[in-house]
């Protein structure tokens, strides 16, 4: 019997151990145990989440590949497929921000090109602690440099993403990396080891001791031993990955291989067992043939290493030579390290001795699943109650302060560090509601966005889940695109705590309901549990990555005001909802109240109006109302226009001015149109039964707002623009 301490180190329970013994019919040796510990970790097995993830809609006419592969695939028409996925790299990015974030980007890129698609866009959802703490600044700078360092070198544009700041991420930043690639839909490659006797090749960087136990590390909370975990973080080499990308795509274009899998989390262990499992075959590899960069590595270390920029592929016997020649052209070695077998076992040879001999299915498919206990968290009762607050005395000052909140402030300081234009497809640059990428020689285009407001999910996970989907789709609608597919990254605390499990269940139900209403399939994603450091959990943070299609790339829309004298309309309806707002958080330091409510059907109708109006060329601008409410939305419309035009609004709602200006009620979009297009626009809204109201006009140098004839806001655009623009850079200047 293996010692208890060893089991603990491998994060396996005694029951799990007994199950392993039963499944493989023997006591596992240490290498075999290491393999099980990785593949049965939360990160690889989804053992706590699987039961709930099944609630998400995963099918649809356009789905080519749903969850379970390296990435999801959607048919986008004209013979093309979009391959996309989002994945977290939270734990490594906290321990070593630059490399942690860089290898997160490297990993998600491999997931995409492994399937035969050329990556054309990256985005990142980032969550940091407040910049007033030096430690958070270091983390923020490191993570952003890491993302830039990797993506820029690869020549894949980072076209957007979102950034939020909240105390709960101080010791637990989130890095969720999204990638999208394009391929011909009949040229997709899968991770399968087919054909007995076919050679198994190892390609890419040499194997070292880096990243051993990365996946198990990502499946536990952090305590005070943080510094010691640094060696668990992998080190990235984007140049090597660029070569790997070009060589792999060349080999795939020539149809020379049968199956391919990248070595990400759980390295050789995961790639060998999954490729065999998918093809119901076996694999035999000889570790002496694995290229190694350190001496004296044990089989345990080689099998568990998470060295980056490595691929495992299965070639046909007759094509091996040509495959190797192509890799050699790109200065990469492709080494035959084993072969496909038919016995459905993973067999590993080291110095002539069989060191692993276990059934593949046991490793990949037989991990026990848990229906963990759930319980409503105690904090909810007090946090959702909001005592009355006095209205602000100075609305101008309040708005200006809100514009300096890093969550709301301009993010160009982040985006300009990313090459967001390489590949020359980026038709709408970062900073708009969604990014738009043209497809060369096509009329239609892709739009994409990431969203997830964790304050809402903290106060009401189900509503928060719905809103995350709704807002992402609304962002797409604002550029003129309709959603076609979803990937999600679910960042939560320790699932062994019933309160966390409750948040998780509720959030999934919300996401599932919204996806069903919008009729969009979830094609995959990633669950990141154990986002806790020293017992403190992050807010539940589901991040939604939604991909949309734009019928005509020449008819996209952007948020900035364009011309003097345009009419400003509100599509949707203002409501008296101030709970869970950035206003309460930043101005009043309160994370309280009920988050805004949402009616999914109404939301959907609002999107339809916006998309139709854009398609008909009626709109000059469109921007959705989100964090900071109507006032911040209008300010952003002014800032994002080339001429920084002002505007005058007359609001008549019977709502308290603070709730009206800063509340975050859903299903609202601010649009502008030429006066002569007014009627046509109103008609479209009426056709969908959506409220629409003319609220003002563009022009002048000031942003002026009247509420029931009383002037409550009058700010020079240029001055408030500087506040908004400089808020984040100023935090980094004082060093």
């Amino acid at each position: 019997m293996i010692h208890k301490k060893i089991l603990e180190e491998h994060k396996l329970t005694e029951e799990e151990y007994e199950r392993i013994v039963e499944l493989i019919g023997k006591e596992p040796n240490i290498t075999e145990l290491g393999i099980f510990s990785l593949m049965w970790s939360e990160h690889c097995s989804y053992k706590s989440s699987k039961a709930h993830l099944q609630k998400l809609p995963v099918t649809g006419e356009n789905v080519i590949q749903g969850p379970g592969e390296n990435a999801g695939i959607i048919d986008i028409g004209e013979g093309l497929a979009a391959v996309f996925k989002i994945e977290s790299h939270n734990h490594p990015s906290f321990i070593e921000p630059y490399q942690g974030a860089a290898t997160g980007v490297g990993g998600i890129l491999r997931d995409i090109f492994t399937m035969g698609a050329r990556p054309i866009a990256l985005m990142d959802a980032l969550r940091f602690g407040p910049l007033s703490l030096p430690k958070n600044k270091t983390i923020t700078e490191g993570i952003i440099s890491g993302i830039a360092g990797y993506g820029n070198c690869m020549g894949v544009p980072t076209v957007g993403g979102d950034v939020y700041f909240n105390e709960c991420y101080s010791l637990n930043p989130l890095v969720n990396a999204f990638c999208l690639g394009i391929c011909e839909k009949d040229k997709i490659f899968y991770a399968k080891a087919e054909g007995e006797g076919n050679p198994v090749l190892y390609v890419g960087s040499k194997t070292g001791r880096d990243g051993i136990h990365g996946a198990t590390m990502a499946s536990a909370e952090f305590g005070e031993d943080l510094e010691e975990k640094r060696p668990n973080v992998q080190v990235g080499d984007p140049f090597k990955e660029k070569l790997l990308l070009e060589a792999c795509l060349e080999v795939m274009n020539k149809n020379l291989i049968i199956g391919i899998q990248d070595m990400g989390a759980a390295g050789l262990t995961c790639s060998t067992t999954e490729m065999a499992s998918n093809a119901k075959s076996g694999i035999e590899i000889n570790l002496d043939l694995i290229p190694q960069r350190e001496e004296g590595m044990t089989p345990y270390e080689i099998m568990l290493s998470e060295s980056q920029e490595r691929m495992l592929l299965v070639a046909k016997k007759e094509t091996v030579k040509e495959v190797q020649e192509i890799y050699a052209k790109w200065d990469l070695d492709a080494v035959i390290v084993g072969q496909v077998t038919s016995d459905q076992r993973l067999k590993v040879i080291f110095e002539g001795i069989t060191v692993v001999d276990i059934p593949v299915q046991a490793v990949v498919d037989m991990c026990p699943l848990y229906h963990r206990e759930s319980k409503v968290p105690a904090y909810l009762e007090s946090q959702t109650k909001l005592d009355p607050i006095p209205p602000p005395e100075d609305y101008n000052g309040t708005l200006k302060k809100l514009l300096s909140s890093p969550t709301i402030a301009d993010k160009q300081w982040v985006f300009r560090q990313y090459d967001h234009m390489v590949q020359i497809n980026t038709a709408l640059l970062p900073g708009a509601d969604a990014s738009v990428l043209r497809l060369k020689n096509k009329k239609f285009a892709l739009a994409m966005t990431l969203d997830g407001n964790s304050l809402y999910t903290y106060l009401d996970p189900k509503t928060g889940g719905k809103i995350a989907v709704a807002e992402a789709c609304r962002n797409l609608a604002c550029v003129g695109a309709h959603p076609v597919g979803v990937t999600n990254c679910l960042n939560f605390g320790n699932p062994e705590k019933p309160e966390i499990m409750w948040q998780f269940q509720e959030a999934i139900e919300g996401i599932a309901a919204a996806c069903r209403t919008f009729n969009i399939p979830v094609t995959g994603g990633n669950v990141s549990f154990y986002n806790e450091t020293e017992g403190l959990s992050i807010h539940p943070t589901p991040v939604l990555g939604i991909v949309g299609l734009l019928r005509d790339v020449d008819k996209s829309c952007s948020p900035g005001f364009k011309n003097t004298g345009d009419v400003i309309f509100l599509i949707g309806k203002n409501k008296d909802e101030i709970g869970g707002s950035e206003y309460l958080k930043f101005i009043w330091d309160m994370e309280k109240g009920q988050p805004p409510q949402i009616d999914l059907q109404t939301e959907k109708q609002v999107h339809k109006v916006c998309i139709e109006a854009i398609a008909k060329g009626l709109l000059h601008s469109a921007h959705d109302i989100s964090e900071g409410g109507l006032a911040v939305c209008i300010a952003e419309c002014a800032f994002l226009g080339d001429n920084r035009l002002g505007c005058t609004l007359h609001l008549k709602d019977r709502i308290r001015s603070d709730a009206l200006l800063f509340g975050e009620s859903q299903s609202r979009i601010i649009v502008t149109a030429k006066p002569e297009n007014k009627d046509a626009l109103v008609k479209i809204a009426q056709g969908q039964n959506v409220p629409i109201e003319e609220i003002g006009t563009t022009g002048g140098k000031n942003m002026t707002v009247y509420h029931n004839q009383k002037k409550i806001i009058d700010l020079p655009v240029q001055k408030s623009y500087t506040t908004w623009k400089q808020a984040i850079p100023d935090h980094f200047k004082a060093r």
Partner: protein, 238 residues
């Protein structure tokens, strides 16, 4: 008019090779092909382009390893013989390392990668790369680099100026050469320069990213159209 032949060099780590290829073939309609860095053949190109990217990962120093690629021998001969060579971004860095242009690149002054549209003042319309300028001498073209802070000794700078080698300088939208507009800290706001013979241009901004109005600017067109005009009419600037 018969098509001109443009060769786009591919180093390991080049990543604007496809972009440059795309605009030359599909926007400007020229006969365009890739040149593999390990070969020894320029394939009868009329103009060679060293594209942007991270050749050899920018390891050691941007452009420092690409300089040793086999094809660089033929490129040097081509350039010395008066052939047109355009180095964009990393391509500019390679030209500096090859000694085809004077000076060197330092890290950007803010020590961060910078990607954004900048304004450039065109300073010399008597080159094969700039002969098609009508009136507007201010261009809006994107940059995307970490090491674009141009440096040369004061003697070299004097020489460059005496010979009118400065082609582009970072400017504000009115074309004024200001410290604020000098995004990366380059000496004399230099964004692009030619050799004495005028047949080799290196520039940090990416004209291939400003060749289609859908992407926000067409201002890069003047450069490619100038090259095409020059090659079609065999102009002389000396």
């Amino acid at each position: 008019m018969s098509k001109l032949r443009f060769g786009v060099v591919v180093f390991p780590g080049s990543n604007c090779d496809h972009d440059t290829f795309h605009v030359l073939r599909n926007v400007y309609g020229q006969d365009t092909f890739y040149l593999w860095h390990k070969d020894h053949d320029l394939n009868n190109a009329d103009c060679i382009i060293l594209p942007g990217g991270f050749s050899y990962g920018d390891y050691l120093r941007s452009g420092a390893i690409a300089k040793f690629s086999p094809l660089m021998k033929e490129l040097q001969e081509f350039a010395h013989g008066g052939g047109l060579v355009l180095g964009i971004c990393n391509g500019f860095q390679v030209l500096l390392e090859l000694g085809l242009l004077p000076g060197a690149m330092l890290r950007n002054k803010n020590l961060k990668f910078l990607c954004e549209h900048v304004h450039l003042k065109m300073e010399n319309d008597q080159t094969p790369f700039t002969n098609q300028w009508q009136e507007n001498r201010v261009l809006r073209i994107p940059i995307a680099h970490f090491d674009g802070n141009y440096y040369a000794s004061s003697d070299t700078i004097e020489e460059i100026k005496t010979n009118d080698q400065i082609v582009f300088r970072y400017a504000d939208r009115e074309g004024r050469i200001t410290e604020e507009a000098n995004v990366n800290g380059s000496v004399e706001n230099i964004a692009g320069l030619v050799n004495k013979q005028r047949n080799v241009l290196g520039m940090m901004p990416h004209p291939e990213r400003a060749s289609e109005s859908l992407l926000g600017s067409n201002d890069g067109q003047a450069i490619f159209k100038s090259i095409i005009h020059h090659l079609t009419h065999s102009l002389n600037y000396s």
